[in-house]
Each structure stands twice: as C-alpha cells, then as structure tokens.
Point group: C2
Chain length 298, copies 2
C-alpha cells in the first residue's frame, strides 16, 4: 500500500477560525484523509497531517497553502517558533512501499505550482534539495522571515521555484521530502533527571550515539518519573527495539527500570512490524499476516 | 472495524476443478474478500477463508455451500480427517470489534437457510450451540458420516435446523461461531525432542497449563530444532507474549533458547497489539497509531 503523507506547517496558531479555513481546504479533496491538526498559540503555528495518493495529496497541499496565503500576513506575525513564511514548510513523506523519488517528484511539482500561483519564493530541502547546502531545513530557514528580503539578493540564495521577488505578506516557503519521523519516549522509574539527561546524551547521534536519533532528558513532574524524549528521524537506522534495548543496557545496574514507553502521534506500519520481528524473533513477520489488513481491498 | 470471518470446510480435496467450482462462488460475492483456500488430498478436504460484512459473508457461505452439495457425494467420500457431511463445518468468527452475538446470529441464519434450501440436517456448535452438549465440534461429529443415519433417529440428536431426514449425498453440517484461533509455534535451539514434549505438556490447558492453549512437541528435522506447536484457541486468555514468556521461563536453566517463532496463517489485529503493548510496556497502544490504518477510510 503506497501512500504519501504531507505535514505542512502554517504560520497561524491563534485564530481558530482562520485555522479551520485552511484545514477545510484539505477536507474538500476526495481521496485525502485528514489525520490530525494541531495549533500552538505560543508558536502561532499549525501543523496539519494528511495522507492519500500522491496526486490528491499534492492537490490538498496546494489548496490549503493558497488559502493560507489569503489569510496570513507575515508583516504582523509574531511567534516563538522559527519561520520564514506564511506557508512555512511543506514536507512530503513516503509511507509503506512508496519510493522516496515519488515524494521528491511531488515536492518539486507542488513547489513549482505553488510558487507560481502564489507568487512566493520556494526553496527545496531534505531529499528534494537540488543544492546540498539546502538539505537541512534549519539552514534554509536561517535569518527567518525578517532576514528574507536581504537573503533573496544574496548570491547562492536564488529560489528553486516560484518568484525571486520579496513578497512581504507571504515570505518564502520551504518544500521538501523526508522519511517519516517517529516521536518516541521512554519513561524511567526514577526522579533522577541527571540519569535521563545522561542517557539522552549517550543515545543521540550528535554525541556519537545511534544514527538519526535526537534525544532530550526531561522531567515528568506529575508522574514522578523522568523521560528520554526522542525523535527517530530514520526508523530504518534507529528502530524502536534498537532504541529501547540501548536504553535498557544503559540503565542496567542503576536499579532503575523502564516503566513505560509512549508514541507521540503516528508511526509507519513498517516500524511496528520491526517491533514484532525483534521481540518475537519472527524475522518473516509482516502485516499481511494480520486479518484486518486484507479488509483494505475487500 | 467490525468484520466477520468464515472458514468453511468442504469434503473435497482431490479434484482441483471441483474445489475451484466451490471457491468461485465466494469470489462472486461483492464485499467479500477471499483470503485463502487450502486443499489436503489425504484429508480429501478443503478449508476456505474469507471475510467481510456479516450479510455478505453469510451469502458467500450459502452460495459456496449449495455449490458443494451439487458437487460432492458423501457415499463415495474417503479421507483421513473426521467429517460428517459434504459441507462439514462452517465456523463464523468475529474480528476486531464485532460482537460474538453477531457471529452467533449469522451462524443461526445461515444454518436455517442452508438447512432448508439444501435439505440437510444442521447442528449448531461452539458459541452458537443451543444445547450445551453440542458446544464441542468433536462431540457433534462423533460417529461421522457413517454413523449419521442412526444418530438422527437417536433421542437428543434432533438437528437444530434443516431437515431430520438422512440425506445420503450431503450428510449433515455443523455450523457455529467461535473466537479466532491463532496457530503459533515456538522453535527451540536443540534436538532434544523430550524437552519440546515436556514444555508442550506444561503449557497445554488439558494438563493444567495456560487456559485455551493446545500444544504438541514436534521434531523439525531439516532445521535441526524442536518445536512447541500450538493453537491459541482464545487469544484473550492466551496472548502471544504470555505463551512466549511461559516457554522462556520453562526452558530457563537448560541452556536452550528460543531461536524463532512462527505464525501459521493469520492473526487478528488485537493479538498483534498485545505483542506491542507487552514488549514495549505501552499499555495504550492501538492500531490507530499506525499511519496505514487510516487509509482504510481515506
């Protein structure tokens, strides 16, 4: 089952009516399923998640993004989260067996259509980057909306699509393709925050841990526990069992145990299959062995 | 997602053309998905698996069973497996959130329609039994086809539906409702068959082990291992993690380890969720957290 996920981030997270106006455009497209949307008023930002066939998903991304341009004016936008435009970032994520190339192709098509119709400068990032210096979202967004006008006139910052003119209402849009990301937390039965921070440091890629793991040690006051809060940026390199067993080994001998784990949001089926394969030693397991999977085409 | 599964067993497993004729009737019904069919020539028997909405599943069971009556003549049937009729047993299995009562209702409707139209005596078994002495399939089938004529004239063996007359071509049909059954094997890294037999004896319900587990110790010559081969008749009482950890504890100290596990056929999504919940200590996990689940209604 090959599907495309899109997770656009819009620079409006306070006015519920405006947010609903944007989300309504996704709901209108048949063949697209809206999975989730979440507004953070401090960030003044909304993240929308939807899936479907690539063509329908591109259409939903386009209609909602054009609506966002009507609604949002960056000249008056304030928020905690870094942002460069009204339609800040539009990531396309291949799910199941869909090839990354197809997500990249959709990102490029979307970027060109949206850039032209919205008269917005568009940069391609992630797997859709055409310039290696634009692979990281943070690098592309550096300087944010406030620095965009100058950036557009700098050598090496010609947009990949859309217009090169500074659009003061819309800013710029960063469009890309990336692997699905799993937000996964492991809660430890202790109030020792230092332990969670130590484990997070050990496991995160940036300090030499497991590739593609981002991790923080946090306090869970209400629960009286501490948490290793993670993003598994590429679950092919950092599977859930690999991460859990790394942490289990790390805390062995401290007398502290893993009390529970949490998923924030969704995970791809493949990542779930990996859990079954690892813990049951059932290397051949796949979701076709689950009765309900077959109802898809019933 | 509430669906009904039906797993009828027909007394023909040698003539491929005849089997295809029966299976074709299932394929004709829209809204029903044929998952599997398997013929055993020694048993001279075919098991067909299909799923869908209760009404459509009943229809597929009815059409394929009526076709089987045209094709099969019990007067010339020979096979290793116990059987009482051409359409030997028709179990309905509730999947996902479907209530057992709905499977029972469908079994009763099917039994009455099929019994009348096919002029066949029908007995209800399992959860669909109306007489507690008919709960076990083996008890109902006792005496087999060869003893049926006499059985029909015995007190206490009036059919639950259909005709009371002996039908020499068709025999009788046992119709019921039951929970999904999981065929699950655990392979041990030893050639010590006695160990597998000991473990099987410890775990099986009939010798005081885990309720609803049937188990055998077998040799896997090609693999150089032994196997604890199981049916988990009710996975609510015998979950996969419970069974695996029971076996792990049982072989602890022997130096033997679990090398791999196997699923034979399909398992319900709920049983898979239980694996994730247990091994990740994620009690709230459910399949709605899997992206692909949402494609069902996309």
């Amino acid at each position: 089952m090959k599907i495309l996920e899109c997770v656009p981030n819009f620079s409006e997270g306070k006015d519920e009516k405006k947010v609903e106006g944007i989300v309504a455009e996704v709901r209108k497209i048949s063949g697209v399923k809206l999975l989730d949307y979440f507004s953070d008023p401090d960030h003044n930002r909304t993240m929308v998640t939807f899936i479907g066939e690539p063509g329908a998903v591109k259409q939903a991304a386009l209609q909602s993004s054009l609506k966002a341009l009507e609604i949002i004016d960056m000249r008056t936008h304030r928020g905690e989260h870094p942002r460069i435009g009204a339609v800040d970032v539009v990531p396309f994520v291949p799910i199941g067996g869909l090839a990354m190339e197809e997500a990249v192709r959709t990102a490029h098509q979307f970027g060109r259509e949206f850039g032209e119709r919205g008269e917005v400068p568009v940069y391609f990032y992630g797997e859709a980057a055409t310039d290696p210096r634009r692979r990281k979202l943070a690098d592309v967004r550096k300087g944010e909306f406030e620095g965009l006008k100058e950036k557009l006139s700098m050598p090496g910052w010609e947009p990949d699509a859309g217009v090169r003119i500074f659009n003061p209402r819309a800013g710029a849009t960063v469009v890309g393709a990336r692997r699905p990301l799993i937000a996964f937390n492991v809660n430890l039965g202790t109030q020792n925050l230092d332990l969670a921070k130590q484990v997070a440091k050990k496991i995160r890629e940036s300090s030499g841990g497991i590739p593609s793991v981002q991790a923080l040690g946090l306090e869970l006051k209400e629960k009286g526990m501490v948490q290793v809060s993670m993003n598994l940026v590429d679950y092919h390199r950092a599977s859930i069992p690999k991460v859990v067993e790394f942490i289990r080994a790390e805390i062995a001998g401290t007398g502290v145990e893993i009390v529970e784990t949490e998923l924030v949001g969704l995970l791809p089926r493949e990542a779930l299959e990996e859990v079954v394969r690892a813990y049951l030693k059932m290397p051949e397991f796949n979701s076709d062995q689950v009765i309900e999977t077959h109802l898809l085409s019933a």
